[in-house]
């Protein structure tokens, strides 16, 4: 137990920072209140450094280096996210206070906003270190629950509230689904410990050559439920409305943080079943493989086809985020390959690397949208959202325009940019696993995606600026942090492709697959005997071997 706590230092740092932020953020003094964003950023950076420096004991036996990689990844992208988010909470309220209104802490929500941001990132870190189903469930919920509130309080528009409520109810549905899946997994194996579940399933398989039906049903329910977090079909319906309803910086957060948590959770869950089936002995059991295959193909296609017809940039990016989840699911279908497989074959490494690429590229696009606002007909300012707002952006605001161009072309996967190096391993791992039809679907989808990404880029780069805008034209009042974060992201999309190889090595190291079946050791240590499925169904207590 004490060893486990030692691997949690990044989370402890984040938790302590969140506690400080919660008190500092409602201070009566403006200067103190303003500092809480900086404190949150420092805490996050410190957590990232601790995660680098603190290898700790391996949390997952099968993925010894997964947790540190994910922790550093979310802390790093989290700092950029924080730059984009800074200045968003309480913007209107603070302006009113500056005009002489009395400051009333109960009407402000800056403190909660930053604290929830930190809690959510802490949730992802806890997911990556999960070794138990209950831990995994709590960590996934810790990732999601703050995001519901962040969506609702991200702006004072009614649409944000609506988006928050929608997101919450569908999130609860997803949680119920995967919790039921977890219950079935426990019923089938008699343990909530992921490693024990893996060993028991492997042992059961030695006897009968087929996977326990209850465990399969549990894993399927869990996959579909966690699919909510990654916005995979059939749990994708909330995405467009929620992404559009939330303020752009929060949307950028939603597109990265819950998605990372979802993919890490899927990796950990499917590890319990293992990629050791099929004719090659390197794929998932047939029912799960088929379901994941269909989900991957549908997710990509639905996301890309619906993105083509949108006229709102945030909706385009929302559907594109669905499509990217579909791309990454290909890596999950391909699996890690045999032990010691090269990077090109390791689908899990491809996912981990793609999460980094996607996070950076997507954040660049959202940073541009978050920096722009438009005066509506009624005279109020609102977020720039229409695709026409991008028209001629490279002429009027060269910096934002070019960030948009680089991000869009990067998301498309154009060769010299980061997106290409991210997508390449997904292709090669799919081919290596023999999933040729799925790879063809992936290729076709990349072509469909070219249409709307190039439209985003071309509008900014090639078109003339709109001289007679509908409302009062664009303005740029956002805090400078957003532009800066966007600049860093665009620079990373170009610059990191030169560093792609070391980063790929990092991801590859994080996805080192060591599935060992230790006959008797893990299982007998926990006194979980091998049980046939019927017994496990009716008498879970007997299966765990405890009186």
């Amino acid at each position: 137990m004490i060893q486990k706590i030692q691997s949690l230092w990044p989370e402890i740092v984040l938790f302590a920072t969140a506690c400080v932020v919660m008190v500092v953020g409602i201070s009566p003094s403006v200067a103190v209140r303003r500092s809480c964003g900086v404190i949150a950023g420092l805490g996050l950076a410190l957590a990232g450094l601790v995660a680098i420096d603190w290898p700790g004991p391996a949390s997952s036996v099968v993925w010894p280096a997964l947790a540190p990689y994910v922790k550093v990844l979310v802390a790093g992208v989290g700092v950029l996210l924080l730059l984009v988010l800074a200045g968003l909470p309480d913007r209107e309220y603070e302006a009113a206070v500056a005009h002489g209104q009395r400051y009333d802490p109960i009407r402000a929500n800056r403190a909660e906003f930053y604290a929830f941001f930190l809690f959510s990132i802490m949730g992802v870190m806890l997911v990556s270190g999960a070794e138990d189903l209950i831990w995994l469930f709590l960590a996934l919920e810790l990732t999601s629950l703050p995001t519901y509130i962040m969506v609702a309080i991200s702006s004072s528009r009614n649409r944000s509230l609506e988006a928050g409520v929608k997101y919450f109810f569908l999130g609860a549905l997803g949680a119920a689904l995967f919790l039921y899946g977890f219950a079935l997994l426990y019923g089938a194996t008699g343990s909530t410990n992921l490693e024990t579940i893996r060993q028991v399933i492997a042992q059961q398989r030695l006897g009968s050559e087929a996977v326990n039906g209850v465990a399969l049903a549990g894993a399927l329910l869990a996959v579909i439920g966690v699919g909510f977090k990654i916005a995979a079909v059939p749990m994708h319906f909330y995405t467009a409305d929620v992404y559009q309803g939330a303020a752009s910086p929060v949307t950028a957060f939603l597109a990265f943080v819950p998605k990372t948590a979802g993919f890490v959770a899927l990796i950990l869950l499917l590890t319990t079943i293992g990629w050791g089936y099929g004719p090659s002995g390197q794929s998932l059991p047939e029912p799960i493989r088929t379901v994941l295959w269909v989900i991957a193909a549908m997710t990509m296609t639905v996301g890309n086809v619906l993105a083509v017809v949108q006229s709102s940039v945030k909706r385009v990016l929302a559907y594109s985020s669905i499509a990217h989840s579909g791309y990454m699911l290909v890596g999950l279908v391909a699996g890690p390959g045999p032990a010691g497989a090269p990077f090109a074959r390791n689908g899990i490494a491809a996912i981990l690397f793609y999460l980094l690429c996607y996070g950076v590229m997507n954040l660049g696009a959202f940073a541009v949208m978050a920096s722009l606002e438009r005066r509506s007909r009624s005279g109020a300012t609102e977020e720039a959202d229409s695709i026409d707002d991008l028209r001629g952006l490279c002429t009027t605001r060269p910096m934002l325009g070019w960030i948009m161009v680089v991000s869009a072309v990067g998301l498309l996967g154009m060769p010299p940019l980061l997106g290409f190096f991210g997508k390449l391993p997904l292709f090669t791992s799919g081919i290596g696993a023999g999933e040729i039809p799925l790879v063809v679907v992936l290729g076709i989808n990349s072509a469909i995606a070219a249409y709307y990404y190039l439209r985003l880029a071309a509008l900014a780069l090639l078109e003339d600026p709109d001289v007679t805008p509908v409302g009062g034209g664009l303005s740029e009042n956002a805090p400078p942090g957003r532009k800066f974060a966007g600049f860093i992201c665009a620079a990373a999309v170009i610059g990191l492709s030169a560093l792609a190889w070391p980063l790929i090595n990092l991801a590859d190291g994080a996805a080192k697959y060591e599935p060992r079946l230790t006959p008797g050791s893990a299982v007998s240590a926990r006194e979980a005997p091998i049980v046939p499925s019927a017994d496990a169904l009716t008498e879970p207590r007997a299966a765990s071997g405890r009186p």
């Binding site: 506690c19 919660m22 008190v23 409602i26 802490p105 109960i106 009716t538």
Partner: protein, 125 residues
């Protein structure tokens, strides 16, 4: 598949259904049926209801309830900790770690309290 262990649950469900149906049908069959204005009021022999039930409550009631939850959770964790703590050898590393944990936990509840205080939960004006 052997489902015999589910038999008690089946019995329980049957009993629940039979009990409910029997009570309703017995009341309908045996009970006298008298109607009237007094019979139709909300509390037949209690107070006269007034106003509407859809009143808006002050949000502070909920805030107080949440602050109460903080202390509630605190005692839930403190109690088993206090029961287990004397069993540890005094002065060992383990005992200090245990003490440190509960102090950290107490600190977080203090933060919640300070947060509630600053938010004005205890201010009734």
């Amino acid at each position: 598949m052997d489902l015999s262990s589910y038999l008690p649950i089946l019995l329980l469900i049957t009993m629940a259904v039979v009990f409910a149906v029997a009570n309703i049908s017995l009341t309908l069959a045996l009970g006298p049926s008298r109607q009237g204005p007094v019979k139709g009021t909300t509390y037949e022999s209690g107070m006269d209801p007034f106003g509407t039930a859809r009143k808006r409550f002050n949000v502070r009631f909920y805030l107080i309830a949440m602050v109460f939850l903080v202390f509630d959770i605190e005692i839930i964790f403190l109690y088993p900790w206090a029961v287990a703590f004397p069993n540890l050898q005094a002065g060992t590393t383990e005992s200090w770690v245990w003490l440190g944990r509960i102090l950290f936990f107490l600190l977080t509840t203090v933060v919640a309290y300070v947060y509630g205080y600053r938010k004005g939960v205890f201010r009734f004006d």
